[in-house]
């Protein structure tokens, strides 16, 4: 929704269109920020999907709401609130969910309890702030077209830190995610890694929230990795694919949003969903035809995803 530009129109000369988009500083910032987020979410989200912590990730993304409203109540920059609440949420989930991964019934209920508490707090902050929710839309859905240079720098620094930590922890974390029991027996600190990963996820979510908004963080955190893991089970290829898909989705979504009155968040989530759906159908068809030929080797890939 570039309100300050005189209604952009899409000519079918793509090079000229791209040039027009890049003339605006806010669009350059938005594209850069979107790319950083796509890379970070693609990598962190890949592990999240592998560890089956989608619900925890979603709950962490909801932490951004009390974070932002609490920060505006106290009068500090919103980013501090995001990081504080996401970090606290990660600690709470890590403490409550105990050993093991996946979603045991009680564990799901506990994560749900954390989320409901956070949202109730957020609503309390909003109503204490004055009761007028004029800015609700940008609080919930972010405003990618209003990224300042400072925010972009902060985001890049956070992304660098997250990816460096992830790189350092990659091998034991992958081991602990794929087979926690064996990893634990080999002396890998599974619990510590689990808590550490949640914190990492929280930081990534907090940084992403300012771009896509807490409700749509998930589009980038879960859809590209899930799609990549549907396509291949080989970790390195799948990770790369996840990042590339994320980048493609963000660029395409923002490109379309520039020429339309509807917000980028909608296009990003819609494209991410469409890509996942197409791949899932394709994989399903391939699995069916493979099993019809009597080859059962496509089954594990499908069941894994």
């Amino acid at each position: 929704m570039p309100s300050e530009s005189a209604s952009p129109t899409l000519s079918w000369n793509l090079a000229r269109d791209l040039g027009e988009v890049l003339e605006y500083h806010f669009m350059v910032n938005a594209l850069l920020a979107g790319s950083v987020v796509a890379v970070m979410a693609g990598l962190v989200g890949w592990l999240m999907v592998l560890r089956r912590q989608a619900f925890a990730g979603h709950t962490l993304s909801m932490m951004a709401f009390p974070g932002a409203s609490g920060a505006s109540l106290v009068g500090i920059p919103a980013a501090w609130g995001y990081f504080a609440f996401c970090g606290a949420g990660a600690l709470a989930i890590g403490r409550l969910s105990g050993r093991g991964r996946g979603t045991s019934p009680e564990q799901g209920a506990r994560i749900g309890a954390v989320q409901a508490t956070a949202l109730a707090l957020g609503f309390l902050f909003v109503s204490l702030y004055g009761g007028v929710l004029g800015d609700l839309e940008s609080l919930l859905f972010g405003n990618i077209l209003a990224i300042s240079d400072g925010q972009l720098l902060l985001l890049a620094a956070v992304a660098f830190a997250v990816l460096a930590t992830l790189g350092a922890l990659a091998r034991p974390l992958l081991f602990a995610s794929v087979d926690p029991d064996v990893a634990g027996a080999r002396g890998v600190p599974v619990r510590l890694l689990s808590g550490g990963f949640l914190l990492l996820l929280a930081v990534a979510v907090a940084a992403t929230s300012q771009i896509t908004g807490p409700l749509l963080v998930f589009a980038l955190l879960v859809a590209p990795p899930a799609t990549a893991q549907l396509i291949t089970v080989r970790p390195a290829v799948s990770l790369l694919l996840s990042v590339l898909l994320g980048l493609m989705i963000v660029w395409l979504g923002m490109g379309i949003a520039y020429f339309s009155v509807y917000p980028a968040g909608f296009f990003i989530s819609a494209i991410a969903f469409a890509v996942y759906l197409l791949v899932r159908i394709a994989v399903g068809l391939r699995g069916r035809s493979a099993s019809a030929r009597g080859a059962a080797d496509a089954r594990p890939a499908e069941a894994r995803a």
Binding site: P105, G108, A120
Partner: protein
Amino acid sequence: MLSHEFMRNALLAGSFVALACGMCGWFVVLRGQVFAGDALSHVAFPGALAAAAAGVDQRVGLFAATVAVGGGIGLLGRGVLVARGGGGGGSTPADDTAIGIVFTFILGLGLFFLTLFSIGSAGGAGIQAAHTLFGSIFGLGAGEARLAAMIGLAIVLLVLLIGRPLLFATLAPEVAAARGVPTRMLGVGFLALVGMVAAEATQAVGALLLLGLLAAPAAAAHRVTGRPFAGVLLAGAFAVGAMVAGLMLAYAVPWLPPSTAVIAVAMAIYGVSAIRS
């Protein structure tokens, strides 16, 4: 306190909404479908906004969206179960990813409708969105409150009706299927029912806070007793208690929004049950 009409309406509607939430929630927690319930509560938001954008009554949009998505998640989960050779009765982890992707897309649609709506009518969109997200229980009229109570009662009766086969199908899906219980249909039907609960509760505590009423009283009941029907009743009682106490608290403390107060009491109940056991 009871001399105020808005308080009477809130207590009437709230109690039945809470009863439905608590009793349904007990099964949701047992089946490990808290994330699905969460997704349904978020779906209520785009549903209401779509109805607002189309100019129909928001309840129509609410119920249509949540029941449709509830059934859809049930069917999707069924597909996954078939692919995995018909495993357990609850949600599988693969479900969680699919749920996450589907409801993110639907939230994206919500954003679309919010924009559509705010282009159409300047101003009202933000307030409408806030009411959908956080509920406006003190703003219910007498007719709306009676309707909400009746729908809540209907949900409670439905839960009691399918309670026994649903319990059977959840705890021993293979045995139940062998005995002729339609486990898959029950699974889909149950999620559609949760969708109704979500739509119903959205009007009272709002789409974002429904989860607290669905999960916390039920989790507390699971902690207190392992017996099924005592658990269902206890979950309902906890939820109603949280609702009534929360509403009174919000009445007494002017700066406290009712939704926050209700969730706070529900969390306190869960906290006490977690410490004691």
